[in-house]
Symmetry: C2
Subunit: 183 residues, 2 copies
Amino acid sequence: MKSDELMWQEVEEVDRRKEPLFDLITVKSRSADGTEANFIKVTPPDWVTVIPVLPDGRILMVRQYRHGIASLSEEFPAGVVDAGEDALQAAHRELEEETGYVAGEMIPIGKINPNPAFMTNTSYTYLARDLKKVSDQSLDEHERIEFFTLDEKEIEEKMGGETMASAIMVQAWYWYQSGKRAN
Amino acid sequence: MKSDELMWQEVEEVDRRKEPLFDLITVKSRSADGTEANFIKVTPPDWVTVIPVLPDGRILMVRQYRHGIASLSEEFPAGVVDAGEDALQAAHRELEEETGYVAGEMIPIGKINPNPAFMTNTSYTYLARDLKKVSDQSLDEHERIEFFTLDEKEIEEKMGGETMASAIMVQAWYWYQSGKRAN
């Protein structure tokens, strides 16, 4: 099959429902060979993940309960891009809210789609350096977050284990390790 | 905050709706300090991703249109674990359906949650070796998939770029590169 034979064209939006975390959209699409079918899309806001590296090389982590897995999860500071924000602003805000640190440098190192099959949003990863502790945590009403530090070797050992089991964290760590830089 | 102060306990399921790709669940949960609030969970089936390595070291890839991003995506063969299957069976099935190859060895190299904040499913990654071409593709009605090969260096260069922008693929590649082995 050639690439143009793989394509689908969106014909119309058949249904859209506003859910708390995303819109749930049904789209009718037509394939290159004329077949029509309905497909589902979900539209979460964009996400940001921040890997904050302290002057001694240790990395700031957060521990919190995650409702999807119904257990505690160790992650890099992360959150959603709020309305009216860009990803860089969200990265600065989430870092400060969850840890009380601000970053002199916030460097984009990767962006990705969480799952192109049905999700429309982008997940941005930043490397934060030149960190200064300026305040306490400033958490949302239903956030309970503890922060702590790990070194690179400890993260590498834990990544993918029971307490560090998020694909979004793994892809962030991949950008960090690969030394890639993104726009 | 100590770990037990971070915990939430599910009190009751407030609502559950069956959507095409997942159930959409509202759960009422109670924090350690007694606060109650509703949270959303989505329950896709488990996913599998297969990294199939040919005897010459080249890796089998698939190219397909992805409705979430509305464009073509280059990925490792992947799909959902069907009802009545385990992840290993799904890995064998998806590899054969999408490429016509069967694997003498199918080695689990990682598992992850796509997003612990609200998703309940697990994404399994396998390394497939001892590959033999036994048939043509055998695609679902609405699948249009082209397969091709890349070497490790080409994948490493493309990973995270416009045509290879899936967090699920990045985490699979991380397992492959780290040489980790999972159960």
